[in-house]
Assembly symmetry: C2
Amino acid sequence: MKTVAIVGTGLIGSSFGLALRAAGFDGEIVGVSSERALAGALAAGAIDRGAPLGDALVGADLVFLSQTIGRILDTIRHVNLMVKPGALVTDAGSTKCEIVDVARQSITRCQFLGGHPMAGKETRGPESADAALFQGRPWVLTPDEPSELDTEAATEFADWLERIGARQVVLDPLEHDRLVAMTSHLPQLASTALGATLADTRGTEVSGSGLIDMTRLALSSYELWRDILATNAEAIERALSLYIQELEHIRENLRTRQLQEEFERGARLAEKLRRARQD
Amino acid sequence: MKTVAIVGTGLIGSSFGLALRAAGFDGEIVGVSSERALAGALAAGAIDRGAPLGDALVGADLVFLSQTIGRILDTIRHVNLMVKPGALVTDAGSTKCEIVDVARQSITRCQFLGGHPMAGKETRGPESADAALFQGRPWVLTPDEPSELDTEAATEFADWLERIGARQVVLDPLEHDRLVAMTSHLPQLASTALGATLADTRGTEVSGSGLIDMTRLALSSYELWRDILATNAEAIERALSLYIQELEHIRENLRTRQLQEEFERGARLAEKLRRARQD
């Protein structure tokens, strides 16, 4: 792997460039992005130069698509004639079924392997890029078939993921989308719904730190979430239905000991998540 | 106000003792609690001595009940013959209607004024006590009639609240209970329900910091919440119903622009809460 193209040099793309450099990658890193994002990525040292898509892809051994889901889908539909045979195209989109489907149909001249680095920050853009962003965090790979992980390009990519400290997790695209519907999209909507429910309540400034925690995700903008919700609606509907069912069960048992069981189940999950982070 | 009795010298009770001292109170502070909590409060310097309830109340100008709601109700039912006429009995219970009702019937020989300091910490007990715990935090007072705030005892208590840096808020008991059902009890149950919904999902360790935030409250134990839920069930049922309705609306609009409005409403509330904390 001598040349890497990073398409979308925001927080994730620029952090990936910095992480590769910090892990000893000494090939060329070419960025494809808006003028502003390229300038930021150059200033951060995340890329060596900016280039138009076609120029960047012609020599790239690894193409990393770190755009919004809508733009990743768009890029995938247009790159087949630009890529180098033997290259690997991968992405950072946070839903996978639709991306993997479109890639299966569109990218035939080289390999595509879906990915989802589960890392982030409150702040966006190349200015917030961090070489350590992926350290200890899950990086999900979603091959259509397990054998896709055994190609030379995929093996080399996986080696670099290990070197930058990411924790590789292999999931089926559908399995991935169902899981993130529960662990990421549901918490987002639970927070947004809580904020929206309280929007017209008078006196909310008289409240504690619990509500502050529970509304942090509600600060996220719709622009960030539109593509995610649209490309994973079915799994999210199911997750919301399970959550609503649980809330109804709690509402019907406010005065009974049955609630103790719900508190214990909730606490067990919360503790499990915290243990997993410490490993 | 020369003598203060603190009944229940856990985090809140001991912090109140420390806060009074730090604000210049030079009278006696007597604690009533379990042997262990009294030892902790003494070691922290929050009380001057421990005593049985009757002994502590006989000379107290201010009686501060900082126990669980169940125990506060119990204490209120038993103190009428022990209190000094002219004293003020107040409390720190986080629901108010039932406490104020029971006090109206039980405490006739001196004044009762319901209270709810909205401050806390992750850790409990007198060992965590902090003289600055109430600084800048709301301290709700819930008189049955506004004139209850004008008595000599109530005015003096309010002066001390100001000296310890608490932000006084006056609410009707019912108004208070409806508000905390929305701003405190609903967020707790939303978090517990999220944890319980995810309890049987495989692979939750592959998740981000959003889920960690959203499940912090789920770590709370049922023991802490049982009394709160039981004494505010009606308002909580209503809050849960509004939340469920909002979640259903979101579920039905995952693919429409209508969701943008819900995200905007949620973000506006989240921002408003954060501005209120900075004031």
